[in-house]
């Protein structure tokens, strides 16, 4: 299978108070299309930074990132934004819905950004899939946390991404709601054949992916296939 994500010797250093702080160091891995992977590690280990670099939200200080064969390193922020719009979907711990837009409008935004027309029915269908067909005209503040995350899921899949990045997608939800969201993520992922990368503290959630990348102190300490991978393989 072709690789969708290829990181080689990626490092990230920040300047802080006149000193340089290395958050990621020599991280390399390749992820194949359609695969699922969890990035786990203690707080401050560099998980979120790694996710940001892999998704093209930031530029690596060293090394290279290829997303769907596109080298992100030399691209400007606007060029990377275009790549994200074409190929990437996001789910965040704190949902990150635009508070001034209704649920339906939030789902429509990625498609509108592409200049696509007649997208309302597609967005509505996605909301139906996540069980919020009748809440499309509600604003985020009028929805519960679980509902907001479901809108966020519908939005993430609206542009039919090749790869989905999820940052602690259940971190702000109670156990019951978390389970339902996780089911939804994996169902939609399977259905669309999307690659999934998620950052989590939750080992149970991590174990549902095909591969677990453990990092500590900015370095990969283990990269294991899970039982799911073995079963899938």
């Amino acid at each position: 299978m072709a690789s969708i994500l290829d990181l080689q010797s990626v490092g990230k250093t920040y300047q802080s108070g006149g000193r340089s702080l290395t958050v990621l160091d020599q991280v390399s891995f390749t992820l194949e299309e359609g695969a699922t992977m969890a990035i786990v590690g203690p707080s401050g280990s560099g998980k979120t930074t790694l996710l940001g670099l892999a998704a093209g939200l930031d530029r690596a200080s060293t090394g290279s990132v290829l997303l769907n064969g596109i080298a992100l390193d030399k691209m400007s922020e606007d060029q990377r934004a275009a790549v994200r719009n074409q190929h990437v979907g996001f789910i965040f711990q704190n949902f990150q819905l635009l508070p001034t837009l209704t649920a339906l409008e939030n789902v429509m935004v990625p498609l509108e950004l592409r200049g696509e027309r007649n997208i309302k029915s597609r967005a509505q269908a996605l909301l139906q899939k996540v069980g919020l067909a009748d809440r499309g005209h509600h604003y985020p503040l009028q929805l519960s946390g679980g509902e907001q995350q479901r809108v966020s899921l519908a939005r993430a899949f609206s542009n039919q991404p090749r790869i989905l990045f999820a940052d602690e997608p259940t971190g702000n939800l109670d156990a019951e709601t978390s389970d339902r969201i996780i089911e939804l993520i994996f169902d939609l992922n399977r259905e669309a054949g999307t690659t999934l990368v998620l950052v989590t503290h939750d080992s149970e959630l991590a174990s549902r992916t095909g591969r677990i990348l453990r990092i500590k102190g900015g370095r990969i300490v283990s990269d294991e296939a899970t039982l799911n991978q073995a079963l899938a393989g």
């Binding site: 939200l57 934004a81 950004l113």
Partner: protein, 846 residues
């Protein structure tokens, strides 16, 4: 690459995003509303005035053509007057004392002796109305209404002018083209010309203006008149006005007035724009999360920026419309406010041009100022979706930000160029504004830094909290100090200028200096007048002989060569004016030789007479030591040479001269005298003036009291108009304050709720907020007053050439008023923070 979303999507996103913020966005632009209102009101006034001047042009002059001079008409002029045909009126104007026998009051006025049916267009407005025509039929006078009021006189009473007593036929309300302010400086008395001779006021040395008014049978061929007759008039020392030129003159002075007021309004608008920029900065900070999400989903920086720019332009536009409507309403009241300065009656009407101009200026300038914080949206990183703490402010070094600063400066420069008509003035105005803003921002930063550095730890908890709030994150202290401070500086500087001017005049007569000047004293009257003065127990502090003459030639330059050669440096009036000259052998104590040598006595037959010129007069006209000046002393030519230049202190009530002759030359020339005295009080002055006017009706008196009261009245009227316009700046400052309090209310609520959760009482929260606004108001007032003191000192020192002593009490009053207002506004808009239970507040606001 993905295709860019269409512009309609950006509009749609701007609309969607504004949904939950509209009331706040309108709050942001509320600060520009007053500035635009003031601008539109002034523009509308200008439009209406111009239309009105065009409509009433003929009645501004009252005739088709006016010829005037301070020289009696000679043959050529009389011949010209005869040849013009149509109807003709003649007027002679001069200043003289009038005396009301009813109560013994007397005052210096402008006498106009009239013959003919002038005005041919418009009316002398009088009460009763018929008096404007009927006064010409007998020994009647029309007397300015303010003068009648002052001396409690009314139509039917008598007034004495020179040797003759006239019946007051009516009270004069207005004359063609006359502004109320002019009448209050020099009240007018109209007489029929046939009685002028008998008044005995047409004596040698009297300064008389001769005027002819024509109503022509056929329209004046302006071009032919300018080419054929103007050079002859200039040569004869006469000037003229046509309906057209009068219209231009009036329009020019109106333009000056409205330009000035428009600039004052523009300052209010700029202050409002700073308020907008500051509010948008907070708005942008709150929008970083939303922008980061959009960036994450694939929006380009430019697209995110445009979404918010569209919002701001739209609300700027809406604010400008509200301002324009308000301005149109305010404009209805301006004619009443400015009536003393307007030469025509004005019925305000809606001016669409003014409204459009105001909306355009308001939209552009508010968008430009909003761009300053908005440009940073382009640099918001999508990483903010992952880390809320990451709010880097890369904008500070953003070159685009400098571009925006440049655009703002260019706009201000361009706008002021349009108002002022010259690049130099526009540049001075722009620089002045920039320096004032920067100085206030500098003072604000310095004050805040000083407070931080020397923070009074010994203050009680509430005091420390209130003070520390001035420099907590996201504070708007500097902006508010600039905005409120500039309004304060404005008012205080106006006040100082008024004080400087009044002081300068009142100080001009120190303890022993003369405070009363009697002029037009004929040689035969001098001794008697000195005797009368001494009889009244008053000191004669000098009698000065005055000889009138004209300058005919400077070296080889004559009036004619000056007309032909525009490259010559001399001012055009140098040959046409009448010179009032004295002769003495010593300098007075207000004079100092700056160049050359003073010669007090001229030896007879020793060639050219060495005269002394006032240094600035010589400098302006490029006259050097040794130059030859040819004077005509009432028919007799005198050749002089510039022997010395003098600096003269003009700030005294005494006779000062541009040209000073030595003794031994002019003694035999026709002359009149000036007498200087010092009168200790009002009553003595009135008694003395009565005695002088009764015995010497041709002698005019200027007393310092009159000058001061006229000046005071004038300054009061001008000051009121300026204060009214400056009021827009002050109120704008307060609106910015209100907006800023409301915008930052959420942050304050969180802090107050936290404090209350930790056990602070409502009273303590109240004190903290009250103290914070007190400190803010005090700092703003302090900064404003500091700026105004510097400005006043500079004005006094360099412009008015006088000393400046700050008046502390009024400044303190202004400071207290500003503090009080700031505290009231702050507390009123924070009342929900203080008065309601914490939980209720949080639930509503979150």
């Amino acid at each position: 690459m993905k295709p860019a979303p269409p512009f309609s999507w950006l509009l749609q996103m701007a609309w969607r995003d504004s949904r939950r913020n509209r009331s706040r966005l309108l709050l942001f632009v509320s600060s520009i509303i007053l500035g635009i209102a003031a601008l539109v009101a002034i523009y509308s006034l200008r439009e209406n005035m111009q239309a009105e001047v065009d409509r009433q042009a003929a009645s501004l002059l009252g005739a088709d053509l006016e010829l005037r001079s301070n020289k009696a008409p000679e043959t050529r002029i009389l011949r010209l007057a005869d040849s013009l045909g149509g109807q003709r009126s003649e007027e002679r104007d001069f200043t003289s004392m009038v005396y009301f026998p009813k109560n013994g009051g007397s005052r210096l006025v402008q006498v106009r002796a009239l013959e003919g049916n002038f005005p041919y267009y418009g009316e002398l407005e009088t009460e009763p109305a018929a008096a404007s025509r009927s006064f010409r039929n007998g020994r009647n006078a029309l007397v300015d209404q303010t003068l009648l009021l002052q001396f409690d006189a009314k139509p039917g009473d008598s007034v004495k002018v020179g040797n003759l007593t006239f019946r007051v036929a009516g009270s004069l309300l207005s004359a063609p083209g006359q502004t109320g302010i002019a009448a209050s400086v020099a009240p007018i008395v109209y007489l029929p010309m046939q009685y002028l001779e008998a008044t005995g006021l047409m004596q040698k040395g009297s300064r008389i203006n001769y005027k002819y008014f024509f109503k022509l049978d056929k329209p004046l061929n302006t071009e032919r008149f300018e080419k054929g007759i103007e050079p002859m008039l200039e040569k004869e020392g006469w000037s003229y006005d046509t309906v057209e030129s009068q219209k231009e003159d009036t329009n020019r002075s109106l333009r000056d007035l409205t330009q000035f007021l428009a600039l004052v309004s523009f300052i209010a608008l700029l202050l409002g724009c700073i308020g907008v920029a500051s509010a948008i900065q907070i708005y942008v900070r709150e929008k970083i999360g939303a922008v980061a999400i959009l960036r994450c989903l694939g929006a380009a920086g430019k697209e995110a920026f445009l979404i918010y720019l569209i919002q701001i332009i739209v609300i700027g536009f809406l604010g400008a419309i509200v301002g324009a409507v308000l301005g149109t309403v305010i404009q209805q009241f301006l004619p009443a406010l400015l009536q003393d300065f307007l030469p025509v009656d004005l019925e305000p009407s809606i001016s669409w041009k003014a409204i459009l101009q105001g909306i355009l200026v308001g939209t552009i300038i508010s968008a430009l100022f909003a761009l300053l914080p908005l440009v940073s949206i382009r640099n918001v990183s999508p990483l903010n979706t992952l880390r809320a703490s990451l709010q880097q402010d890369a904008g500070k070094r953003d070159p685009v930000r400098w571009l925006v600063y440049g655009l703002i400066l260019l706009f201000v420069l361009g706008f002021s160029r349009l108002q002022l008509g010259s690049w130099n003035n526009a540049l001075a105005f722009t620089l002045g504004i920039a320096v004032a803003f920067l100085a206030l921002a500098g003072i604000a930063a310095l004050l805040v830094r000083t407070i931080r550095r020397f923070f009074p730890q010994s203050l009680p908890f509430t005091g420390r909290q209130g003070l520390a709030n001035l420099f907590r994150p996201n504070n708007q202290t500097t902006i508010l100090i600039v905005v409120i401070g500039l309004g304060t500086a404005f008012i205080c500087t106006l006040f100082s200028i008024q004080t400087i001017l009044l002081n300068r005049v009142s100080r001009s007569a120190g303890e022993q200096q003369p405070n009363t000047v009697l002029f037009d004293i004929q040689p035969g009257q001098k001794e008697q007048l000195v005797a009368l003065t001494q009889q009244q127990g008053l000191p004669v502090q000098g009698t000065v002989p005055i000889v009138t003459m004209r300058l005919e030639r400077i070296n080889n330059i004559t009036g004619e060569s000056l007309l032909k050669d525009s490259t010559l440096p001399q001012q055009s009036w140098i040959f046409s004016r009448e010179y009032r000259v004295t002769f003495r052998d010593t300098l007075s104590d207000s004079e100092k030789i700056s160049k050359g040598k003073w010669q007090g006595k001229a030896a007879a037959g020793a060639g050219a007479i060495p005269v002394s010129l006032e240094a600035r007069f010589a400098e302006r006209n490029k006259i050097e030591l040794g130059d030859t000046l040819y004077f005509n002393v009432q028919g007799a030519p005198i050749t002089t040479t510039v022997g010395s230049l003098r600096t003269v202190d003009w700030n005294r009530i005494q006779t000062n001269f541009l040209v000073l002759f030595p003794t031994g030359v002019l003694e035999a020339a026709p002359q009149f005298h000036v007498l200087l005295t010092r009168i200790p009080g009002k009553e003595v002055s009135a008694r003395y003036q009565q005695a002088v006017v009764r015995q010497f009706p041709n002698v005019s008196i200027i007393d310092l009291g009159l000058v001061l009261s006229v000046l005071d009245k004038l300054l009061e009227k001008v000051g009121f108009v300026i204060r009214f316009m400056a009021g827009f700046s002050i109120v704008t400052g307060l609106v910015v304050l209100i907006a800023s309090v409301l915008i930052s209310r959420y942050q304050r609520m969180q802090e107050s709720v936290l404090l209350r959760t930790l056990g602070a009482s409502r009273k303590q929260i109240f004190y903290i907020i009250a103290l914070e606004y007190f400190f803010l108001g005090a700092l703003a007032a302090l900064a404003g007053i500091a700026l105004s003191l510097v400005a006043s000192w500079l004005l006094a020192h360099y412009f008015f050439d006088t000393e400046f002593t700050p008046q502390l009490l009024p400044l303190l009053t202004v400071a207290l008023a500003i503090c009080g207002l700031t505290v009231l506004i702050g507390l009123f808009n924070s009342r929900t923070v203080v008065n309601r239970p914490p939980l209720e507040v949080l639930r509503e606001e979150v």
